[in-house]
Amino acid sequence: MSINAPVNPPANHLSNQALASSNKDVSKVERNHSLWSLAFKKLIKDKVALSCILVIFGYVLVAILSKFGIIGANWAESVAASYAPPSGDLWLGADIFGRSVLVKTLMGTRVAVSVGLITVMVSVPLGIFFGAVSGYFGGFIDEIITWFYTTLASIPNIMLLISLTFVLGKGITSVYIALGITSWIGLCRMIRGEVMKHKTREYVQAATAIGASNYRKLFIHILPNVFHIVIIESSLLFQTAVKSEVILSFLGLGVQDLPSWGKMIDESKMELARGVWWQLAGATIAMFFLLLSLNLLGDALRDALDPKLKGKD
């Protein structure tokens, strides 16, 4: 730990730099305000962002409750006549088998949220690792990684997903894996760029001067300083994953045994002919609010965390 003392505490580095550049009276700013706490304060003040967080939290809660069988455990039971229209008891009507569309929509949340979360959990470490290693070491390693992700990115995303689910077999696990291993490229590129920028900075040179190892410089010093990108990207990744799951399920390649928004839209494409609009409505409204909140939150996070945007408001 002693070796760390002369170097700028990494997390403070950016905020100090930002403060210096904004040319304000440094003495008035409390010293213990890190980038994170500043960002958090800013986010709390933003009402839109706050309500987005609440909405997302609501979705997650529904997902957790249905995971533990508190909501929608009996979604497969028929509760009304086939294609019963929406009514006071049955807010979103019933599907072909008389199952409640509302319950199916809530169960669809579980699939959507789990796909979003797990995709982020798989692709973020991949993106960070490849981006950081390639940006930091450069040279041959960088060339190989860049070649690899450029090749991967040149394949149209949906085609790649479809072929992956064909190889892995259908089901939710394949969707997790397929989305996880195809979604890290954007993040990887950004991390690579940021790491390249940071590795020539003084605080890294200082670490080098006192003999810090590559591992230490990369993961202890540089990474915390580019971590805000990961947060912003994650919220965007999450919503891309939700959309992709819907597309895959619509094509019949996604979730098999659970209700999913994509499957509901697939069914409703024919049912609309007989005037049954409620499955489509349920799935699209649920999707709309989740995706909108994630997008708005992504924007708010960027505003709060990106030092380049600091002081613009």
Binding site: I96, G252, M270, A273, R274
Partner: protein, 603 residues
Amino acid sequence: MSQVNVLFNALSRKSVLALSWICVLSLFLFSSSCTKKNEVGENVLKIRVPIEFKGFDPIEANDLYSSDEIGRVYEALLEQHYLKRPFELKPNLAEAMPEVSTDGLTYTFKLKKGVMFHDDKCFPNGAGRELVAKDVEYSLRRLADPKLPSLGFWIIDGKIKGLNEWRDKSKSKDKTDYDEAIEGIKVVDSHTIQFVLTGPFPQFLYALSMPFSVIVAREAVEHYKENFMNHPVGTGPFLTGEYVRSNKLIYTRNPKYRDEFYPSEGEESDKASGLLADAGKKLPIVDKIEVSVIVEDQPAWLNFLRGEIDFLPVPKDEFTNVVTSEGVLNPKLADKGILGQKAQGLDVIYTAFNMEDPLFKNNLNLRIAMSMAYDIAKMNHLFWNNLSIPAQSVVPPGVSGYDPNYKNPYRQYDVAKAKEYLAKAGYPDGKGLPEIEYYISHGTSGRQEGEAFQGMMKAINVNIKLNVIPWTELQNLVSNKRAQMYTMSWAADYPEAENFLKILYGPNKAPGSNGGNFDDPNFNKQFEIASVMQDTPERTALYDKANKYAGEQLPLIFQFHRVRYIVQQGWMRNYKFSEFTTFNSKYYGIDAAKKSELLPKLK
């Protein structure tokens, strides 16, 4: 260049603008008058097909839609009579029905004289030549050629003397020798051909009426080689035009088509329904056919409502809008001149058990349990608008060997009994029964049907893992015996019980047509005896017995014989539903006067 500039400068900006407006307007007027002429003046039949058809090589025509396209351009020796029911074969390229020797093994066909192939550059001077007996021989040999991707060899496999030997010999050769003699196919003279069979095969004539055995010209095959698929040169009533935007195919009347006439006999009801009004008229009746590939039901339906398609089976989800609760056509549609009719196909939908799977093999009680848990009435309501006929076994109504009074005791819905049988099978309350892999193709309502099946089995504690997969993948799994249970349908190639019972005949196991791999010595024996008999009451009785026997062995969960509701435009003439549509387009007609009267009502 400078002159042009001068000219432009001379014209004011305003006049240029006015001129361009005039150009645009006249173009618009010109084009709209063109479409109008096209729609009303010409005798054009408009048909929808729901899948991209494969192409025009008859030896690969194992699906309905490719067969239909082939039947517009090519012809076979025989065809099903357009109007008569029960179905009856009639000569087409043959002059008359063949002479059959007393032992039933030698068939002698005389061909019509003056049948000409379409004009095509593959012939000398581009003029089509006369069809001769050699062409018939050549076409059947192509079906048996091991070097070609023939999907129809099964119709004559092992039936014609020497043909299989020739096929086997050709396998080891670099090039198939089409000139080597085959004992069972003799070209007697230019217009006479004789077939000698290896044994009794009463279905032989049906085989010669199928799209696989239409007659092609050797010159065309050799000239176009791999591209023969896209260059049909037949003798049929229509010539192919070109693909328009890859989703439309246009045919025009063959001006050199020989004298063939619309039939003057049919069923008793045909006269009243106007199907005999065109009796004696020269075929084909329409000048042009437009075939549109429209995969989804919804756009096809909208096109029908706009008068862009002449006839269509009503999509499942449109049914309640089309047919009233009294079972008649919605008056709103009837006012526009649209007509509707129920049409029962010769087919059976079933869910098969893979009988080679240890779980189902020798466990009749388990199969009974699952069959009795299958709620046929509910399925008919949800997916077939209560129109279809619940199947008791494989043979459908309309085929001799079907007994309308027969109720398969294991085919009736009874959950309590199903549970009893499940216990007898060794799985009381489903305990100890592994999850069963079930496959269904990802059609319009495949997933919903699968979920319904899953739900019904869950009611007796049988767990089903639902796999909704593309049609080609399902075919693959079934032919490799890897599908534990699956749903498919079988439609008639010809109207005979043999064609249905064969899907349960042991030696036809996958990759043959018996995808469930049912192999019961008792049934096999009954089938072998009946299938080589001529059409007699004894044979019908045997078919009936075999059908019931197989029904109670439950190699399949029998579902439905499909009944569809078909609508047609008021201007369409001579539409009679048939399971065998391949050669029918020459009979269809369009009443141009009526069309110009009714079309404005639709738009």
